[in-house]
């Protein structure tokens, strides 16, 4: 039995929006990344896992229980961080955390104090007045405080500053060590790369790949931009390294998309005088296009 099982679910909102015949599983103790561009259907999938919406066809189950019919039972072993987070505005942060703890039938605040410290969260203010990042931290605290076995996180780092994003990555890694099963959606490949064992990639509601991180990374490209001291050097470089081409704007600059050839590209450049270099990681969308052969 897989911990989370998604079997051929379709939820059609019309106009090719929604998710279509989607299937994948999350194994016990695994961290699975769920990647896809805006509107790909990540949140729609997650809502079905949470039992908020029923698939038109197909089935979703967690720990072998149907997500819609047994939503309440599943909740006790589940922590959820919604993608569009919202609280009861009239409460202050601490009141809210206490309220959620009681709704979850926890005897005390569980891991909340420890998490608040870890994320440097001062929850004493009114929720309505809190910044996006603070709200996100409250959401994180609420998702993790019960120390559940399964975590479903919808864009967990949105709104967090880079320091806090790193803390979050640390948190996921430590939870992984403790054997938690985690499904997290994201737009940021690096974040998934650092934390996940496998990733599922979805585009326009359809699954494009589920694979181990290494497999997926092997297809990942970086865009390399090298500027040389003289135009002849650039021309010579393009001659020697066939992936490269001259940049349109500047004859001294070459651009290339490299994956495994990165080492060769750098070593080749070492033969000339390099004055500047930029490396861009591909955007997720570019990555999908490259890896899966475009939009056929």
């Amino acid at each position: 039995m897989k911990t989370i099982e998604i079997n051929h679910i379709t939820k059609d909102y019309g106009g090719r929006r929604g998710v279509f015949d989607l299937s994948f599983q999350v194994n016990q103790g695994e961290v699975l990344g769920f990647l896809g561009p805006n509107g790909a259907g990540k949140t729609t999938t997650i809502r079905q896992l949470m039992g908020y919406i029923k698939p038109d066809s197909g089935s979703v189950s967690i720990l072998g229980k149907d997500c819609f019919a047994h939503a309440a039972e599943i909740q006790s072993s589940l922590g959820y961080l919604p993608g569009e987070i919202a609280f009861m505005d009239s409460m202050n942060g601490m009141e809210f955390i206490r309220f959620v703890a009681k709704m979850k039938r926890m005897k005390d605040l569980g891991r909340a104090p420890e998490l608040m410290e870890q994320f440097e969260l001062d929850a004493s203010g009114k929720l309505k007045k809190m910044s996006k990042g603070m709200k996100q931290k409250i959401g994180i605290v609420c998702a993790f405080m019960q120390d559940p076995d399964i975590l479903i996180l919808d864009e967990p780092t949105s709104g967090l500053d880079p320091l806090m994003q790193n803390r979050f990555v640390d948190l996921i890694l430590s939870e992984k060590k403790r054997g938690k099963t985690i499904l997290m959606s994201s737009h940021i490949f690096e974040e998934i790369e650092k934390t996940c064992d496998r990733a599922a990639i979805i585009r326009a509601g359809e699954l494009v790949a589920v694979d181990s991180m290494e497999k997926l990374c092997s297809g990942k490209r970086k865009e390399l931009q090298i500027t040389f001291a003289e135009e002849q050097m650039a021309a010579a470089y393009v001659q020697a390294f066939d992936k490269a081409e001259c940049a349109a704007a500047n004859k001294r600059t070459v651009v290339m998309k490299v994956g495994k050839e990165l080492d060769a590209a750098i070593k080749q450049a070492g033969n000339y005088t390099v004055t500047d270099m930029d490396i861009h990681t591909q955007s997720l969308e570019d990555f999908f296009l490259h890896f899966y052969g475009g939009d056929e």
């Binding site: 809502r47 949470m50 908020y52 919406i53 029923k54 939503a71 309440a72 039972e73 909740q75 006790s76 959820y80 919604p82 569009e84 987070i85 919202a86 609280f87 009861m88 009239s90 809210f96 309220f99 959620v100 009681k102 709704m103 979850k104 039938r105 609420c142």
Partner: protein
């Protein structure tokens, strides 16, 4: 059956609004009661004669002579239906649709309680807060009456009328609660439930103005609350009263079952 944490939270979130509505009703109730004048024919009557249509529309046309008839005639025709109706519309929206609309329903459903349990708690809260309002208003009217006109208020008739009034509140509450359970957007839920309430009140008012529109009374649920019939203890009035309770409770039950099955965009 229900969730105590949530129930308490709703009291904390809504008591201010309840107090405000009770305050307004206190003002009206004491004002009307104090205007009663057993000896000299009342001043409101003089006013009523100067603009009969307006008073008729508010159901204050033929207000009788006793304190009970006076109070029920002036208060239970429109004030004690329209004001609580506003409270009911706002509260019903706050209890369900608003949580779904802004997404905080996630946290109400984050525990091991079933959806039905959560939404039932909200229904129970609505009904209990209406009980509080009713008991309070009855208390105010009764105490003002005893203070100003000791032993004038016929208690049994007063209780019968209030039994009917509560039936009407339950009916309105049920309808608004059902709307709140059906629609995911606050705006829609509020819009449709206020449309229903305003329609019911308006049609009632028009039907009371003259004989020409009398038959319109069959087109509004407000007619089910028959103040005169309840004072006179007529069986027909009791049947209508039972219909209000029955339909109201049915709406609550349907609301809960709709909420149980629907897709939540949270």
């Amino acid at each position: 059956m229900m969730n105590l944490t949530l129930y308490k939270r709703e009291w904390k979130a809504n008591w201010v609004m309840l107090v405000i509505f009770m305050g307004v009703l206190t003002m009206y109730a004491t004002m009307i009661v104090s205007m009663f004048d057993p000896e000299m024919g009342d001043s409101l009557k003089v006013m009523a004669e100067s603009m009969p249509e307006v008073f008729a529309a508010f159901g204050m046309a033929d207000v009788g002579q006793t304190l009970l008839e006076f109070v029920t005639g002036y208060l239970y025709g429109i004030l004690l239906t329209a004001f609580p109706a506003v409270y009911i519309i706002i509260l019903a929206n706050r209890l369900v649709a608003k949580y779904v609309d802004n997404g905080s329903m996630v946290y109400l459903l984050s525990g091991p309680q079933k959806r039905a349990q959560i939404v039932r708690t909200q229904a129970v809260f609505m009904v209990t807060s209406l009980v509080v309002m009713l008991v309070y208003v009855m208390g105010v009217i009764w105490m003002t009456s005893e203070l100003l006109f000791p032993k004038e208020l016929e208690m049994e008739g007063f209780l019968r009328v209030n039994a009917g009034l509560f039936g009407l509140w339950i009916l309105l509450g049920g309808v608004c609660f059902l709307c709140s359970c059906i629609w995911n957007e606050s705006k829609t839920a509020i819009g449709i439930s206020s449309a229903v309430v305003v329609y019911s009140l308006l049609v009632q008012m028009i039907s009371q103005v003259g004989d020409k529109f009398e038959n319109l009374k069959y087109a509004t649920p407000m007619t089910l609350f028959s103040v005169d019939g309840l004072i006179a203890n007529e069986s027909e009035a009791w049947i209508m009263c039972a219909v209000m309770y029955g339909a109201g409770v049915l709406c609550f039950v349907v609301g809960v079952s709709v909420f149980k099955k629907k897709n939540l965009p949270i």
